[in-house]
Point group: C2
Chain length 129, copies 2
DNA sequence: CCCAGTGTATTAATACATTAATACACATCT
DNA sequence: AGATGTGTATTAATGTATTAATACACTGGG
């Protein structure tokens, strides 16, 4: 698991871990059921306090991305059943709005924005594991 | 200018102002050149400290959304020339990635995500001023 | 020139976030 | 049962964010 932590870029370390793991899972480089590095191991690899990794894993567990088993290890969770609840769609809408607001501010048209989404999606699934 | 502030929802007041003004500008309910409420006036309307509004306006000015003129007032800035710099496209890509990661986690397919973006865009430009 | 209205700057109180140190508890294997 | 490797909980130090109180400075109209 190759994570890149930048201690000086303002973004909290635990969030950098969260985001990168989310990306790895979304792009299938980490698959459901697979074990991820133990807290201490990842902490050592990143030269970071174990609690910081634990914090990240906690967030990821709450987000349904990871599953921790006490005394055993931490694993990538199964993908959830598609699209339950309007609560969840609201989050997606917020993300879409943020994208559209930014695009509008940059003078980027809708179709160009859609193309960007498609391009990023392709890139996300592109590279090998 | 109709803003809704929720003091108890965890999101900082100044950010709620920033986001809502961004939305109003992106959706053309506020047009370039138009004067927005003075800091104190908006602060009074929202029952908030003037510094909090000033903080929001400062962020919006830095984002190129508003333009302040000392002693005179605050105005909606002109739309920037379309798409300069790769720095700016990087922000858009990050937003697109966030959307795609969230969608993936919810089991929402690419085409459905694209449709959502189109739908939100339509809704954004829908209502009257 | 003054006045009223505008944005600006400084400082501080308070709360929250972030990271770390340390000790604890559970699971598995022998 | 013990050893080892796993996640957990508690506490604290430190920094950062958020909001507010207050005084300052610029602009335009009488």
């Amino acid at each position: 698991m190759q994570l890149q932590i930048d201690s000086k870029k303002g973004i909290p370390i635990y969030l950098q871990i969260v985001n990168q793991v989310k990306y790895l899972v979304a792009s299938r480089r980490l698959e459901p059921g697979q074990e991820v590095l133990p807290i201490r191991a990842l902490a050592e690899q990143l030269v970071v306090n174990p609690n910081t990794v634990a914090r990240a894993y906690l967030e990821l567990e709450r987000a349904g991305i990871l599953m921790k088993r006490h005394g055993t290890g931490t694993y990538v969770a199964d993908a959830p059943p598609p699209v339950r609840g309007s609560q969840r769609l609201k989050i997606l809408s917020d993300r879409a709005d943020a994208l559209l607001i930014e695009a509008r501010q940059l003078g980027v048209e809708l179709e160009e924005t859609v193309n960007l989404v498609r391009a990023r999606h392709a890139k996300m699934l592109a590279v090998a594991k």
